[in-house]
Amino acid sequence: MFAPSFPVWQEHGAKKIAVKAQSEEELDALESAAQEHGLVHYLVVDAGHTQVAPDTKTVLAIGPAPASILDKITGHLKLM
């Protein structure tokens, strides 16, 4: 799954911004929003070897993608 913006990212880089979500439902909603917009994304599901239970969704990465589209999806989230 390669986005057309990959060559641009490779050449020019991108900002990485860490934000926080309050619940698994919020993470799911963000993932489906990313899917709807056709953005590359990945949701990490923890194996549960340590602190959190198995199959816990912990981190969602979205992008690289144009900032204007990403802001529509994650603009309301607070910085980490």
Binding site: M1, F2, S5, F6, V8, W9, Q10, E11, H12, G13, A14, K15, K16, I17, A18, V19, K20, A21, Q22, S23, E24, L27, L30, V40, H41, Y42, L43, V44, D46, A47, G48, H49, T50, Q51, V52, T56, K57, T58, V59, L60, A61, I62, G63, P64, A65, P66, A67, S68, L70, D71, I73, T74, L77, M80
Partner: protein
């Protein structure tokens, strides 16, 4: 010689000198203004002075398209402080960004899929982060500092899962590449142990 004959030439010379001084005083501001206006005109017509800018800023400026972003959404209700800190560190660490790009974009696919050892590519792999700068799966004395300098988690704990990477890095890498097969390491494990007495 009379008194008048003596003082008249002196008075004339003094008057001449006074006039000359006055004339030069009047001409100096005008000349300065003229010079300044000439300089300003020359500066306006010449190319604009180069503005010192960082390399990345100039690169961004050179790219006329829309700016790209990567967003890392971390769940805040799990107490994943270590994970988020790692995410922040990665955000700052340009070497990790560069290596992530390498990982995702070498010949278009993740290098892990090409049969290469990912531990030699990712500085944030658990092996390196645990004080093993070369990713050999063993702790190296003093390696923790080196791992920290590389951007990994500075902990002296031996590698639990050599070759695995942090959840944040895995998410970013997998999002970019879409083909990452590495298991994310249990997030925050080493940091939590480090904090406990």
């Amino acid at each position: 010689m009379s008194w008048w004959g003596l003082t008249a030439p002196i008075a004339l010379v003094a008057f001449y000198l006074f006039q000359r001084q006055q004339r030069s005083r009047e001409q100096r501001p005008a000349a300065t203004a003229a010079t300044q206006s000439t300089n300003a005109a020359a500066a306006a017509t010449a190319a604009p002075a180069p503005v010192r800018a960082s390399k990345s800023a100039s690169k961004r400026k050179a790219y006329k398209g829309e700016q790209l972003k990567m967003i890392l959404v971390v769940r805040n209700d799990l107490g994943m402080g270590a994970c988020s800190r790692r995410g922040m560190r990665e955000r700052r660490g340009s070497s990790i960004v560069a290596r992530l790009r390498l990982t995702a974009f070498v010949r278009g696919v993740c290098v892990y899929r090409q049969g290469q050892d990912v531990r030699s590519v990712l500085p944030c792999s658990r092996g390196r982060a645990a004080g093993d700068p070369h990713g050999e799966g063993r702790a190296v004395p003093g390696g923790a500092r080196h791992a920290g300098a590389l951007g990994g988690t500075p902990t002296a704990r031996p590698a639990a899962v050599p070759g695995s990477i942090g959840a944040s890095t895995h998410a970013l890498c997998a999002s970019a590449c879409g083909t990452c097969l590495l298991p994310p390491s249990p997030c925050g494990r080493s940091m939590a142990r480090r904090r406990s007495p």
